[in-house]
């Protein structure tokens, strides 16, 4: 047999094989290849006992969008984490199975591969641990420990998928959490105009340039230097740092925030510094969703930071004199903040509801 005949035979064999593939998507298998800009760095939050696999991510995505994982059969993770809103829900406080608002604002799920402490107060040290909290919260998905397995074990693909991902049919809360965590770690956003600007592939407009300068500059009234120094807590290629600060919303915070986790008085009213990625899509803002617009957020940092014993040191000066941002400075900052929206991310078909056939 000549080489060309051999190749031809190969193609025919492949075509025959392909014709016998099931009409549904076959489940991809093998290690999951993470794609991210080098500037994001390799300090991942993947636990040793939950390596990323394609089949694990596939299962996790099904579970993330699975309303059977709730007491009413109507609420999935995606109810409060909607892709079109950068995985938030547009509400000040989320509503789950009980109809009662939860305590805090739904957090955007983005670049979690690099996040080590989850929730507004950082109380969970892994996505695997975090996932079980809304699953079992009476006002969120409302399941009792062990109940999730009963809800899905009779549904067609799950037993087989759990066997494929974890080596046996057994469906447990822990395995559900592991699979969902794997899917969530794939939610990488790195294609906003800001990312392209950092990569030298996007030129800022004059207003965006001025906004970027205000975003990145520490104010110095003595020398007449204007700035918001937003970058101190929200800067860098990922637009996040793992910090917990009191940003002066109240002089006496009613929600103690991180203090509940650590028991430290110094943590009173401190909350996670959230990422600014996709910030135009994640209104309302703050842990309690008190600000409906970005303009209101800028107004807070400009003129309304409240003094308190645990106010972030970076905001103490802002509290004393205020940044006093002018209307045109606010417009420039807003122009820059719009660059942080990653439309590729919110439209990525790999992150959409897999139960819906397009």
């Amino acid at each position: 047999m000549t080489v060309s005949r051999f190749v031809l035979f190969g193609f025919v064999a492949l075509a025959v094989l392909a014709a016998f593939q099931p009409a549904d998507d076959p489940v991809p298998t093998g290690p999951y290849e993470l794609k991210y800009p080098a500037s994001f760095g390799g300090r991942f939050s993947i636990p040793a006992d939950n390596p990323m696999t394609q089949e694990g991510v596939y299962l996790g995505r099904l579970l993330f969008y699975e309303p059977r994982l709730s007491a009413t059969g109507t609420v999935s993770c995606a109810s409060c984490h909607q892709q079109s809103r950068a995985f938030t829900d547009g509400l000040a406080k989320s509503v789950g199975v009980s109809g009662k608002p939860t305590r805090r604002n739904s957090m955007s799920l983005v670049n979690l591969l690099w996040v080590r402490q989850l929730f507004w107060d950082g109380r969970s040290n892994s996505l695997e641990e975090q996932t079980l909290v809304p699953l079992q919260h009476t006002d969120e998905m409302g399941l009792k420990p062990g109940e999730a397995a009963l809800k899905i074990q009779k549904t067609a693909p799950y037993a087989a998928l759990f066997r494929r991902v974890f080596g046996s049919d057994s469906i447990t809360d822990g395995r559900i959490a592991k699979a969902i965590a794997q899917f969530e770690r794939t939610l990488i956003s790195a294609d906003s105009p800001y990312d392209r600007f950092l990569a030298g592939k996007y030129a800022l407009t004059a207003a965006e340039e001025r906004g970027f300068r205000l975003f990145s500059t520490a104010p110095n009234p003595e020398r007449g230097i204007r700035g918001g120094n937003c970058v101190h807590c929200h800067g860098g290629p990922k637009l996040m740092q793992e910090l917990f600060h009191n940003n002066g919303l109240d002089s006496n915070a009613t929600d103690p925030g991180r203090q509940e986790v650590t028991g430290l008085e110094l943590d009173h009213g401190r909350f996670r510094v959230p990422t600014l990625r996709n910030i135009t899509l994640t209104a309302p803002y703050m842990h309690d969703g008190r600000f409906t617009t970005l303009a209101a957020v800028l107004d807070h940092y400009s003129d309304h930071v409240q003094a308190s014993p645990t106010l972030s040191r970076e905001l103490v000066a802002a509290q004393a004199g205020g940044l006093g941002l002018t209307p045109s400075e606010r417009n420039d900052l807003l122009a820059f903040l719009h660059l942080l929206t990653d439309t590729v991310f919110v439209n990525n078909p790999q992150f959409s509801n897999p139960h819906v056939r397009h």
Binding site: G122, L243, F244, H245, L264, L266, S312, R313
Partner: protein, 169 residues
């Protein structure tokens, strides 16, 4: 985790000191410092324990650009207490060890062990508890790392919570 007791001995006044220290800690929100990781004796030091340790004074330039006098316990002394491989033991693979200092707000930086060891370094990095004779202000203290001579004070971690020795992989 071993509780480090420098000051307290089984004496009648011990309870009063303990209560006093507790009130101070509870009343001011002053935390404790943990030393953990690649050490033989993990420690949790209370405010009174740290106060009782020998202090060193160093001068350094803070963000205000001015020289200040800081007093505190050399990090090397704390690491020796916890049984980290300092001094004569700081050789071979132990040179691949580093220290991660974490703040209450989540900020963290690292120092290679030889940076902290008096056999290697000419400067003394301390865990400061006072500046110019006064306790560190809120938002900075109760404890802050001071690295004398370092041009940018980004590793002068404020509100220090923990010190962990790790091996680079």
């Amino acid at each position: 985790m071993t509780r480090f007791n420098l000051l307290f001995r089984p004496a009648p006044w011990a309870l009063f000191v303990l209560i006093g220290a507790f009130c101070l800690a509870a009343g001011t929100g002053f935390g404790q410092i943990t030393i953990s990781g690649e050490v033989t004796k993990p420690l949790t030091l209370q405010a009174a324990d740290l106060k009782a340790l020998p202090h060193t004074e160093v001068t350094g330039k803070d963000r205000d650009g001015k020289e200040h006098k800081y007093a505190g316990v050399p990090l090397a002394d704390l690491l020796k207490l916890a049984g980290a491989t300092m001094g004569g033991e700081l050789r071979g693979e132990n040179l691949m060890k580093y220290v991660v200092v974490k703040a209450i707000d989540g900020y963290e930086t690292l120092y290679a062990l030889p940076e902290l060891d008096a056999d290697f370094a000419t400067r003394t990095i301390i865990l400061a508890d006072s500046v110019d004779g006064s306790p560190l202000p809120s938002g900075v203290g109760p404890y802050r790392i001071v690295v004398p001579g370092e041009k940018k004070p980004a590793r002068w971690v404020r509100e220090v919570k923990s010190i962990e020795v790790r091996f680079a992989k």
